[in-house]
């Protein structure tokens, strides 16, 4: 029998960008937890991800998932200098806001708010969009992320200059590039293989 698109359970569709926790419902059948082999578990990297429908769907190509997950962790969590964690998350949130990935934006806006302590500024990014005034350093990071996210990419020397003037060194600028680029990968998977669902009626 050919594969089919899943029937979705009744759910509330989020209609705003939010820092609330959202659920994500797959449109295609994830792997069943009991069918995950050692190779699939290696692909998941963290065993806890076996609970996530998103990661169990991506586990259908375990080698691709494993490499992607390990790249993700280094780009966002590597503590060796460069861009502070909060601002890597800001680049991810800005990219997600601009591409229109409500689910991705919720996760990374939450993380950006937690690590920066600037929940109000992060919320302005969600509410007003990528043109919100967040102070020059954050504006420069958002503008660079957005320019790189356009298709074709419009990131240029002026963005590098502005990031430098905002105090970023070369490694930090490379971190902005990799964080925004990575969310051009993540957004497309989350937007095209399933959809967000509000929990307890929030954001709907």
């Amino acid at each position: 029998m050919p594969d089919t698109i899943l029937d979705l359970p009744p759910h509330d569709v989020p209609v705003v960008f939010t820092r609330d926790q959202l659920d994500w419902l797959p449109w295609l059948e994830p792997m069943a937890e009991q069918d995950l082999t050692d190779r699939h578990m290696a692909g998941l990297v963290d065993a806890a991800r076996a609970k996530s429908a998103y990661f169990r769907l991506l586990a259908r190509d375990p080698d691709a998932l494993q490499a992607r997950t390990r790249a993700d962790k280094d780009i966002f969590y590597n503590p060796d200098a460069g861009l502070p964690r909060a601002e890597r998350e800001l680049a991810a949130a800005a990219t997600s806001r601009f591409n229109g990935c409500i689910y991705c934006a919720s996760v990374h806006a939450r993380l950006a708010a937690t690590y920066s302590g600037q929940a109000d500024a992060v919320q302005r990014l969600l509410d007003e969009g990528v043109g919100a005034d967040l102070g020059e350093r954050w504006n420069a990071i958002v503008a660079a992320s957005v320019a790189l996210t356009q298709t074709p990419p419009a990131f240029g020397a002026a963005h590098v200059d502005r990031l430098r003037r905002a105090g970023l060194d070369d490694l930090a600028i490379a971190d902005v590039i990799q964080a925004a680029a990575f969310f051009n990968w993540a957004n497309r998977l989350m937007l095209s293989l399933g959809e967000p669902a509000a929990i307890d009626g929030k954001a709907a």
């Binding site: 050919p2 594969d3 089919t4 698109i5 569709v13 989020p14 209609v15 705003v16 960008f17 449109w27 295609l28 991506l58 259908r60 190509d61 080698d63 691709a64 998932l65 494993q66 490499a67 992607r68 390990r70 790249a71 280094d74 590597n78 200098a81 601009f98 591409n99 229109g100 990935c101 409500i102 969009g129 790189l148 996210t149 356009q150 298709t151 074709p152 990419p153 990131f155 240029g156 020397a157 963005h159 590098v160 200059d161 070369d170 490694l171 600028i173 490379a174 590039i177 990799q178 925004a180 680029a181 051009n184 990968w185 957004n187 497309r188 998977l189 937007l191 095209s192 293989l193 959809e195």
Partner: protein, 208 residues
């Protein structure tokens, strides 16, 4: 569809081992080489992603030719000529297929991201735009599997927020399994990452 002759990793001529380094033009010992070395897993696992998606030990449901054809189209939609040329060289001697991909790229070209939001407060930000289906002649030359894939790739590259469950049905109808669609989606989403890392690092290289 004519099958191209694939150039495997072992026949590469003059390439660095790392595809992103090769496409950016990062020389060993350069300032950018040192910057990339500070994020060693990002570098090695970007490369491992490339290998998992384009040189898998078992190509399973997607032929190597299909994988590289997808890449040439996605890079073309980004206007990323050097990246497209890289994947085109991997496609090998696929003359008729390359002509069909070029025709599709010309038909599908545009700028992104655009698309609609779920009806509500965000509707004021809706930016409706074209939905691409390969034209009759191009679709025939691509064959049904790649024609369905290219329609989906245009969605993913230029207006991913327009995706809905129904957008997957033409892929299933053309014989793509759920697992194939996961891999196709990974290829179609990895390339926008790789292309932007290359584009961004090239700009940075010019400013060091």
């Amino acid at each position: 569809m004519e099958k191209g002759t694939l150039v495997t990793g072992t026949d590469r001529t003059g390439d660095a081992a790392d595809v992103i380094d090769h496409l950016v033009g990062i020389a060993p010992g350069s300032a950018l080489d040192a910057i990339r070395a500070r994020r060693p897993e990002a570098r090695s696992q970007s490369e491992a992603s490339y290998r998992a998606l384009f040189e898998p030990a078992d190509p399973a449901g997607i032929t190597p030719t299909e994988r590289f054809a997808v890449a040439v189209f996605v890079a073309g939609l980004h206007g990323a000529a050097e990246v497209a040329a890289f994947y085109r060289s991997r496609l090998g001697d696929g003359g008729a297929l390359i002509e069909a991909i070029d025709a599709a790229t010309t038909e599908a070209a545009g700028t992104g991201p655009y698309g609609r939001y779920p009806a509500g407060p965000l509707s004021r930000e809706d930016q409706p735009g074209p939905v691409y289906r390969p034209g009759g002649d191009v679709a025939q030359r691509l064959g049904p599997r790649l024609a369905a894939a290219f329609a989906h790739l245009h969605l993913l590259v230029l207006h991913p927020r327009d995706a809905d469950p129904a957008s997957l049905q033409p892929l299933l109808d053309a014989g793509w399994s759920t697992t194939d669609i996961v891999t196709l989606s990974q290829i179609a989403a990895f390339l926008p990452f790789q292309i932007r890392v290359v584009a961004g690092l090239r700009v940075l290289a010019g400013q060091l």
